[in-house]
Symmetry: none
Subunit: 208 residues, 4 copies
DNA sequence: GAATAAACGAGACGGTACGTCGCGTCTTTAC
DNA sequence: GTAAAGACGCGACGTACCGTCTCGTTTATTC
């Protein structure tokens, strides 16, 4: 959704001001995140916001995309357990900060705003995709059975953070992250994410 | 927030009509679920809705409570794996149907409506509580290590369904449910949910 | 377009406040007659205006209707000349005051607002209709030829006031009104408004 | 407001395109006649319109001026009646066609746009001025009393066309034009437009 | 024939008003 | 005397034009 046009022009200024204002209002809890308020906080006319984004969710989507483009180090410690732990701690710090609010806001808007749904899905598709290599390496090292569905494993690892954040509402501390990582590692090692047709083989090999 | 009064009075009739209308609009996708629309569909004045509930979320909360009060059979097959699988299949059928929509709607409202958050949390606290016995039995049978945190395990089991439903948006089929159950069982068996203070002991025992 | 409902209720209060505010803003030249400003001046929410009237023109239409319902004495002096003169002076005082502004505003909106056009037409249809009796009496007295089209005569009499008001913009003084009346009387007496088929007869009689 | 510069340059081309587009949109009823739409229809940027004209009304003013500069034959049949009839038929054809729409649009804008008011007044001042000679000749021929105010008579003649066009909205057919001419001729002949101070003389002469 | 100045296309911008929707409150009538 | 009917204040929505403003790109004169 970003327009871009000339980088140094007025366009860029307005765009930056709006995103910054949105970010501020997002952090300020109980700040009624509306288009009008964002525009006002950005010192920009409401019309200018609608010229660029179709929606409030469009703005938030761009914010989220900015985060998506920021560098996230994928851990590579040589062991599945510590890789997943590092990953879980990264997810935790992401979920408790600003992007967590963004995801919450967008996920809340998703049921009635297809674009919001698309943005948030795209964000996670990318994030999860990056993390899959961790599982792939474990398979290569023999820590995880061949045929392990990396995507499923990562989704399984990330899920509890969302449940807490969006539904349960309890705090997400480091211990929680470590426990989730441990569970994920155990499940991966036990072959719970091996693709169905291979399961029989794995089960068979496990019988010995 | 429900009033109740006398069961056969106007109160009861209005209440039933509103809940039925809300349920209908909830099932009809793209039906914009607003108080005014519900009142109209119920053949009732908007004021009558606000007399009984503080919010749209209040109505949905009552709807969810009705589901919460409906009987859910907790599986007891004698083995952890099949118990969790049954449980996961139950969760799946719950998430794909009407209560799934309810939870989605309430979870969406949660960030700006504390009561909605409370309702949805209460719902899950109860559901998860009921399911914990499954883990307890596994511990008793020796299938799971002593000190296993049943609540954490169940939360871990349920989480992927929410992620799919609220965020990722992919369909939740039986295979998905079975895989989640398998992962959960593996993690439980591996002791990933043993409480921290016992972890040292476990670690200690693992040292030998 | 007026709603009416209960006379002493809130409805009536809002309605009166809006009409009064509109009247005030109408008189204040350069006062940007908009719905929002009227609502603000009336101490009423914009929504309440739109609840009752579809348009700004709807409000003005009601104002005009109020004037239409106010009593206007139709002169009956016994002579066509003085009757028309009285009438012209009445039209003049109407055109130079508030209803003149109303008509101006509505006539301006008419080309793009059918309802405004309808209102202003209805207003004049009624006004002109009332004034026709003056011509009718003149015919009965023998001052005007039989078959005189009273409607056409009155339209002819009223027209110069509109031209001045809407187009030319010059002031409309008493002398102007008297001259218009004199011209109208002369035209009526000369049989200029006798229906076409009768014209030949009149012309014939005039030939002698 | 027209710039002109060199006749074959871009300026002239843009100017012509804009005026042509405006004329087209003016004829197409229900075409919303806005600056943006005109610019688009002209294949010209909005800025280019504003570079040349201050307003939409400025454009329409130029359009009207073009019509004003077009030749209008002032009838000279030798008799007042037929002169006025010819004139009325000319006015009719002008009012029912494109210039009628122009006048309507400009008259509608006049109350809030002084320049529009000025343009439309100027147009009529010129048109009426040209037509005055008809009355002057009638006076010279003895068909009308000396001292007849030609301007007033012509205004009186033209007025009913405006009333129909701007306010009443009924069609303007040839019969209407003829009747107006007849009424005008009768009023002129009867001395209704003789200047006030002369009225006494006329009245006196009429007394005999 | 190159330099230069004016006009142009493109389109973002601040601004005002529009008309709509939904919320939750409050009054009025009627049962 | 309670409750249904529905108007109300409120706030935000998203749209349409307005008239202004850069910012490159032609175009057409001028040297």
């Amino acid at each position: 959704m970003p327009v871009g046009s000339r980088p140094g022009g007025r366009s860029a200024r307005v765009r930056a001001a709006v995103l910054a204002a949105a970010r501020t209002l997002l952090v300020d809890r109980d700040a009624e995140l509306t288009v009008e308020r964002i525009a006002q906080a950005a010192g920009v006319n409401k019309t200018s916001v609608y010229r660029r984004w179709t929606d409030l969710e469009g703005v938030l989507g761009d914010l989220l995309t900015e985060y998506a483009n920021s560098y996230v180090p994928i851990p590579d410690t040589g062991r599945l357990d510590s890789d997943l732990e590092q990953l879980a701690l990264l997810v935790r710090s992401g979920m408790t900060g600003e992007p967590g609010d963004l995801v919450t806001a967008l996920a809340a808007a998703a049921p009635r705003n297809p674009r919001a749904a698309q943005v948030v899905r795209g964000f996670f598709a990318e994030r999860f995709g990056l993390a899959e290599v961790v599982v792939g390496r474990a398979v290569a090292r023999g820590e995880a059975p061949a045929g392990t569905d990396a995507r499923a494993a990562i989704e399984f690892l990330g899920a509890p953070f969302f449940l807490r954040r969006l539904v349960v509402g309890e705090p997400i501390d480091e211990q929680f992250a470590r426990r989730v990582a441990a569970a994920g590692a155990a499940a991966v090692r036990a072959g719970a994410f091996v693709a169905p047709r291979d399961v029989s083989i794995v089960d068979g090999s496990r019988a010995f």
